[in-house]
Symmetry: C2
Subunit: 153 residues, 2 copies
DNA sequence: GCTTGAAACTTTAACCTTGAAATAAATTCG
DNA sequence: CGAATTTATTTCAAGGTTAAAGTTTCAAGC
């Protein structure tokens, strides 16, 4: 019964290998997305992420809501939104009843622009992940979901 | 005939969901690793990555080998190695027979330091991925492996 | 030998990122 | 009310990241 020994040793090694694979895969895909966003739309992944969050919130989002959703620091979002605003894609409006806060919203231009980017983005993902069948996709999704549960999230 | 439309639509959505999950998971884990490397070792993930590459090359690596292995830009590695060198963890030695190039090597201090970091890192990964069993781990690994094959890699 | 093109790096400009400090407004509470 | 605390956001310093441009050296080919 070397099965017992295998069970004791394998998981740690398998996990480290899995992590490196996970990292390599996501970095590879992120790299492709970043490059295409740059060459085809003249934008960046962080900007796309912020616009994606905003596009789901027609009423707008506060800075802290954006940073919370994207799990990045507050100061980070300040700069990205600054650039979005100076490009006419987003707008800061005073938050009603709280003079400290502002609500960020996409402009009409921002919505149009994001529509185009999102359509391309979805097609790219479909292309880049085409190697994974629907069943495998579902299995991975559930496995990672279980993982997400235990983190602070 | 909405079956045809469904077949055309569903996999794409599943893949997009999978991608977002993949991204969330790896970013979450990377965030934990980055924070622990910072608080417990006063270093960063990029520095750890470079040191990990160097630790596998006792003879040292050229700058372009490092950037190629890590799939980051050349200019990027320049800065990271600069800081490693100024901290006494690595050293640039002239490449024999090529005055353009230098070979980067870990110093004795760098090797010691990396040993400690690597041990902690492996334990952290084991902890963070503990929610995934060995079988699931293997399955995900193979699915992502199939994916990696088709990319430029 | 010289010139031309490729290769190995570094530099630069612009952006992203974080954690910590600073500002300012809202809230709590004595 | 007024002080202390908390909350929302920006600013700052240091580092990471890329693509593009610049420098130096090597390798061919004439």
């Amino acid at each position: 019964m070397n099965l017992a020994a295998d069970r004791a040793e394998a998981p740690s090694k398998a996990r480290l290998r899995l992590w490196l694979r996970l990292l390599k895969t996501t970095r590879g895909i992120e790299g492709v997305l970043r490059e295409r966003l740059r060459t085809e739309f003249g934008t960046t992944l962080p900007r796309f992420d912020v616009m994606a969050a905003l596009s789901r919130a027609p009423e707008g989002m506060r800075m802290s809501e954006i940073s919370g959703r994207l799990r990045v620091s507050n100061g980070n979002v300040t700069g990205i939104v600054d650039r979005l605003v100076s490009d006419g894609l987003a707008r800061r409006v005073p938050a009603p009843g709280d003079r400290r806060a502002a609500v960020v919203r996409l402009t009409a231009l921002g919505r149009d622009e994001f529509e185009r980017q999102a359509a391309a983005h979805e097609a790219w993902i479909d292309e880049l992940l085409s190697g994974i069948g629907a069943e495998a996709s579902g299995r991975i999704d559930r496995a990672l979901d279980a993982l997400a549960e235990e983190e602070t999230v």
